[in-house]
């Protein structure tokens, strides 16, 4: 069972998933894939919260994971609406094309 696993390993896995998501956001140029990588980073944070919640027997950690899932749901709605909105104006999925606000 997982209770034999130190909580640090769970949090270490969360850190690894977070780093993979960060690589996806930094390296890919398709906005949809970048967005999915960002979702993975949210998920990694939630996993760390739930791991520590199990370590300290605190429901508040799971509450934070609940907040993360709710925030991700709202974020996906707005983000996908933005991506579709931009796509209607320049039909190519590449974030480098969207540079009107370049300083």
């Amino acid at each position: 069972m997982i209770s034999a696993v130190p909580v640090g390993w769970v949090v270490g896995l969360a850190a690894a998933l977070f780093a993979v998501g960060a690589i996806g956001v930094l390296v890919r140029k398709n906005p949809l894939i970048m967005f999915m990588s960002a979702e993975m980073m949210w998920n990694a944070a939630a996993l760390a919260f739930i791991g520590y919640a199990a370590q300290w027997h605190q429901m508040q950690g799971q509450l934070m994971a609940f907040l993360i899932i709710a925030t991700a749901a709202g974020e996906v709605g707005i983000g996908l609406a933005l991506i579709v909105w931009v796509y209607h104006r320049r039909p190519r999925l590449d974030v480098d094309d969207v540079s009107e606000m370049k300083g």
Binding site: L13, V20, A22, E39, M40, H57, M59, G74
Partner: protein, 176 residues
Amino acid sequence: MVGFIILAVLSFASAVGVVVARTPVHSALSLIGNVVTLAVFYLLLNAEFMAAAQVIVYAGAIMVLFLFVVTLLTAGKEERERPESLAGQRALSGVLAVAAGVLLAGIAVRDSAGPLVTRFSAGYGSLSAMGRVLWGPDFDYLAVVALMLLTAALAVLVLNRRAEDPRPAAAKEDAS
């Protein structure tokens, strides 16, 4: 321990699959795998309600929305990503992200507090325990989440309002 390693490898592999996939559809399918393995983790970490919420909200709602938009925008198209305009940006960012991940994971594993010995209280992580927290001492969070989701829904409505005629004003005059 063996179960943890198998699950960790599965979830890490699907995470890498999201990043290296050629098309967004493959990314989305890998992300579903990642989400489901994380739900199993939540279940093993005594977070029953969060596991159910993860499957329903992520795999059920968010990923369906993603797949819908992916098929809407990229149906039948194969686009190669263009080469990077900033020289070395990809390599540098990749190296930095890997370094950050190794650092964080190293700290987490080093400062690990050891496995659990005490037993969980009855109903820890269940729906009723979650409800008692959400409707009791931490009601503020629930209210804020409700406000935030309402704001997000309104924002999506506002964003879609102008999408009914995407042509610029000049093109419209030409047409008339």
